[in-house]
């Protein structure tokens, strides 16, 4: 475990080092290239800022109203029938909208049930194999100025469902 955490602290500096040295060896005008690229990056962020503000406000309205908790409560009754721990339904739901809110809920699960309990294990695996659907979709599609997203949402939900089911089964095998 120490090794993994050590490697992850090395990876960013090493990558920057590698890119810069590779550029120097190939006699690229690295500082000019950096400035040009950075300018482009700032433009992209400025382009998605309005979408991001809109999205985060909408997610917060939904969350603060208590609706997500309500939906989670209702869904957990249904989910209980198929053997999915009902206490993880809010986490699964919130993870689709906001990564930071999901992290908060995940830590609550850890505090309440323990990291190595069945519930804690499912939560750990599930959070590692899914991404925030609505955040990713709106930010990425905004960058391409796309409004008709066709089958993206269906595919995202399908893949999240598959990952979640796999998490429950795998956690069951770890017990």
């Amino acid at each position: 475990m120490k090794f993994i955490i050590l490697t992850s602290s090395f990876i960013i500096p090493l990558m920057i080092f590698f890119i810069v040295v590779h550029g120097m060896l190939n006699k690229t005008k690295i500082y000019d290239a950096f400035a040009d690229g950075a300018k482009d990056g700032i433009k992209t962020v400025a382009g998605i800022a309005p979408t991001l503000i809109g999205l985060m406000v909408a997610v917060e309205i939904l969350r603060a109203s208590g609706f997500l908790d309500f939906l989670g409560g209702k869904l957990s009754i249904v989910m209980g029938w198929i053997g999915f721990p009902s206490q993880l339904v809010p986490l699964t739901l919130v993870k689709m909208f906001s990564s930071s809110a999901a992290t908060g809920l995940l830590l609550d699960v850890f505090k309440q049930y323990g990291t190595d309990s069945y519930t804690g294990l499912i939560a750990s695996i599930m959070m590692s194999c899914t991404e925030t659907i609505f955040y990713t979709m709106s930010v990425y599609f905004m960058a391409a100025r796309v409004s008709k997203t066709r089958w993206t949402l269906a595919g995202a939900l399908f893949s999240t469902l598959a990952g979640t089911a796999a998490s429950v089964i795998l956690a069951g095998m770890m017990r």
Binding site: G23, G66, T115, G120, A144, V146, T152
Partner: protein
């Protein structure tokens, strides 16, 4: 789609908030999150500029071309209709590599650039086409996004850190299962996209057949 979804989130939130007496929290939350979004953008602008600057160096020094060649069999299979030398391929490759390594800070900028260049590619294809397909996602955009949402990260470093912080006896015990679960979700994503692409192509072939 996103328009309806966004509207629905706000309408449901406000109506539900009114019914449950959470209006104060909803109002405060709306203002606070708008502020938070701007500070997130400012943070992101710095990270984004650093990364796109680095990527520009890597692109001019030929490093990206080398990496693209390395995983090009996979990328070509996933995106058969993107020309190998198109800039979209480079950005998508960078995004996939960053995702697999768990470099979220690098994956998003590369992903956004990839979407911009996929848009350019789609515009080139639609040029001279009378039927307006503006604002409609291309097959590649859908597949690329679903792939991103399916999570590609190999080692869940954040999760290991959270687990050890909350007193787990074996924080890394979930690494193997997490890799397996990620493989399942990614496989499901790829299968889904391949089927949908096939169906869309058949549909289009049928339509153009009718026209003739």
């Amino acid at each position: 789609m996103l328009n309806y979804l966004w509207g629905l989130m706000i309408v449901i939130g406000i109506i539900y908030g009114a019914l449950t007496g959470n209006m104060q929290a909803v109002g405060d939350g709306a203002l606070a999150s708008a502020k938070e979004a701007v500070s997130l953008c400012i943070t992101m602008a710095g990270v984004m500029a650093l990364w796109t600057g680095m990527m520009e160096i890597a692109s001019r020094s030929g490093l990206i071309a080398q990496c693209t060649r390395m995983i090009s069999p996979v990328m070509r299979w996933l995106f058969p209709n993107v020309p190998a030398d198109h800039e979209a391929m480079g950005h998508m490759t960078a995004n996939v590599i960053a995702n697999v390594l768990g470099l979220g800070w690098a994956a998003t900028p590369a992903g956004l650039k990839a979407m911009e260049s996929l848009k350019k590619l789609e515009d080139e294809r639609q040029r001279g086409n009378n039927e307006s397909r503006r604002g409609i996602a291309s097959n590649e955009m859908c597949t690329f996004l679903v792939l991103n949402i399916s999570s590609l990260q190999l080692i869940p470093v954040n999760m290991i850190a959270y687990r050890s912080q909350y007193g787990s006896v074996a924080p890394t015990a979930i690494v193997g299962p997490a890799i397996a679960a990620t493989a399942v979700s990614t496989l499901a994503a790829v299968l889904f996209c391949k089927v949908m692409e096939r169906m869309f192509d058949m549909d289009r072939a049928k339509k153009s057949g009718l026209k003739n």
